[in-house]
């Protein structure tokens, strides 16, 4: 008993020391309790060097918490008990959060450099007038392929994925909207369709793709493609950029018949507290040099025109990531279809995944 008590006391003492130590460390870093900003972001989605620069310039320290899906983020903000000042949801989720009254409007008068943003990426269907959100990055859904395993002319369109040449060589990203959307586009349907027959057709079409599917995975796609594990993958542009940085044989193509155009935008969740810091940060990120540095680090396309000019021409003229206007015009943005319809999409996707091969 005595030993047990002394053991417990020792653990408590160690814990107390650790708490003391960490608070000392934080004080040494010059963090005042209220001089911070909590950013709720996707993993590895901002250049850490920029955060240091921001702290140096303004004195606000940015704390980052990460999520790995829009839905997880939504749930966490909705459940409360969090203190996020800024979050970075995607297009349809912004619409959904707005409907759920989870967002605070953005005061455009407190912003400097709004004119830097390309009007093409403003005033989107999910947030007309950008009262609640500012574009952070945008991108597309497309096909990554390995030129050692498949010729580039053999894989320019969605339909090419169904080719028997790709048998057991295709990876798909584990996302119901994207994969169902891809199948809908091959059939000339809208990615926002609510027509049950269309969705059933899309599912049937996907089931015919099954012999080619090697795996339906998430972030791991980056690693697999870089290691030549598969010949082709359906994924997002930024992920593709990262893979291509690690493997010279990879290329990205946005099928010219259309694809998804998505946005990740800054929003202010209703839990926000540090408004000074929020606007300081938004203005900081609107500056072209900062946006350019961030885009170079993250690899997604920036909506900031000034930043696009600052980026090396090899990036900003790259049609893989900054598609031309003709392709851009054919891209479709996801709308929030409501929970019931999302349920239908997911059930169909689940049935596709369950399909025996």
């Amino acid at each position: 008993m005595k030993r047990l008590i002394s053991f417990a006391l020792a653990i408590l003492a160690v814990c107390a020391l650790l708490v003391l130590g960490s608070s000392q460390l934080r004080a040494a870093n010059g963090v005042k309790a209220d001089h911070k900003l909590t950013l709720y972001n996707w993993g590895d989605y901002i250049d850490p060097a920029l955060l240091k620069k921001f702290q140096k310039e303004t004195g606000y320290q940015v704390q980052i918490e990460t999520f790995d899906s829009n839905e997880a983020m939504f749930t966490k903000i909705k459940q409360g008990g969090t203190n996020y000042d800024l979050a970075v949801p995607s297009d349809y989720m912004i619409q959904k959060m707005r409907r759920a009254h989870l967002l605070k409007p953005i005061d455009h008068k407190r912003l400097q450099g709004l004119q830097q943003l390309n009007p093409r990426f403003l005033n989107q269907s999910f947030d007309r007038g950008n009262h609640y959100s500012l574009p952070y990055f945008w991108g597309t859904l497309g096909i990554v392929y390995n030129d050692q395993m498949i010729a580039s002319q053999a894989i320019q369109h969605w339909q090419d994925l169904w080719s028997p040449k790709l048998r057991n060589q295709l990876m798909l990203v584990d996302s119901a909207r994207d994969i169902m959307g891809m199948a809908l586009i091959t059939q000339g349907k809208s990615v926002n369709t609510t027509n049950q027959a269309d969705l059933e057709q899309a599912k049937k079409k996907l089931q015919r793709l099954m012999p080619n599917v090697k795996a339906i995975v998430a972030d791991e796609i980056k690693m697999y493609m870089a290691q030549n594990e598969a010949a082709a993958a359906v994924t997002w542009s930024g992920e593709a950029a990262e893979m291509m940085a690690n493997n010279k044989h990879l290329h990205y193509v946005v099928p010219s018949e259309g694809s998804n155009l998505w946005f990740d935008n800054f929003v202010i969740p209703k839990t926000a507290k540090h408004y000074q810091a929020i606007y300081a940060f938004l203005n900081f990120m609107l500056k072209p040099e900062n946006a350019a540095q961030n885009a170079a680090y993250v690899g997604y396309a920036t909506p900031n025109q000034g930043a696009q000019h600052l980026l090396p021409a090899s990036i900003s003229n790259d049609h893989q990531f900054y598609p031309n206007d003709k392709v851009l015009a054919r891209l479709q943005v996801y709308a929030d279809l409501g929970q019931k319809m999302i349920g239908v999409y997911n059930d169909k996707f689940l049935e596709f995944k369950m399909y025996p091969r």
Binding site: S69, T75, I216, V217, M354
Partner: protein, 269 residues
């Protein structure tokens, strides 16, 4: 004295209510709500009438069964041999050691081993067989799952064997039993409780593995865990997710009942 003991029990009772009973009640309660928010049996109807979920359930049970069987086949001899060794505590520690490492890290390590450029394929290339597709196969999924569950099977069996009185084995040998008879009539029945505990601790989690199905199985193996994850995180159809949860809990109760100790009525004289 009695008053005190009741008082000391309060924290445990609060703990049980907050973290065991309340979540169970909440799951059961949630399972009656459809995606539209109406209260009904609809989720259960969907579950038991849709081929998708039933197939998924059968899938999960089948994989959990294979995983449990494989773990048992590996673990029983291991536990037995461990008991014969000199430094058994040390060996036991080495077997438990991997459980201190996060499951995800272990899964990623296996991705490295199984991938096209991984250690196994390097070896296969070296001996002239050529690279094989190892990742995203059912076999690799079962192997990795079994690897992860093995310590949880070995521990209870090890303890059961350690408690076995060696004089019983000696007696059995003295009475002329063969090795096999000693094992099947004496050792195994007396360690059956350890085996049952092991099966319980392995089978139930195996029913709802979900990270491994994606990382190692490439979502080619779909278990109930995948569906729960999807319903909670993507569809946000908490009702349906809870329904699957309730079915899993019932399955768990059933397995506890089948493998658990039953009080013998009347008792043997």
């Amino acid at each position: 004295m009695k008053k005190y003991s009741a008082f000391y029990g309060v924290p445990y009772i609060i703990w049980l209510i907050l973290f065991v009973i309340a979540p169970l009640v909440l799951i059961a309660y949630q399972s009656f709500f459809t995606i539209g928010g109406q209260m009904s049996w609809a989720n259960y109807q969907t579950y038991f009438h849709s081929g998708t979920y039933l197939r998924m359930t059968l899938n999960s049970i089948w994989y959990a069964f294979v995983i449990t069987l494989l773990t048992l086949v590996i673990s029983y001899p291991t536990a037995y041999i461990l008991n014969q060794t000199r430094h058994k505590q040390l060996w036991l520690l080495l077997i438990i050691l991997p459980t201190w490492i996060n499951l995800l890290l272990k899964a990623y390590a296996f991705i490295g081993i199984f991938s096209q450029n991984g250690a196994i394929n390097h070896f296969l290339r070296f001996i002239g067989i050529g690279p094989q597709q190892l990742l995203f196969t059912n076999t690799s999924f079962v192997l990795v799952a079994a690897y992860i569950e093995i310590p949880f099977m070995i521990l209870p069996i090890f303890n059961a064997i350690a408690e076995l009185n060696p004089s019983l084995i000696n007696a059995s040998r003295d009475l002329g039993a063969t090795n096999w008879q000693t094992f099947s009539k004496v050792i195994f029945p007396l360690t059956l409780n350890g085996v049952k505990t092991g099966i319980q601790t392995v089978f139930i989690p195996s029913l709802s593995l979900f990270m491994l199905t994606r990382l190692i199985g490439g979502n080619k193996v779909i278990t109930l865990g995948t569906a729960i994850e999807q319903h909670f995180l993507v569809t946000q159809n908490w009702g349906m997710g809870s329904t699957i949860g309730v079915v899993l809990i019932l399955a768990m109760v059933l397995i506890m009942f089948v493998t658990g100790e039953r009080r013998k009525r009347g008792g043997d004289k």
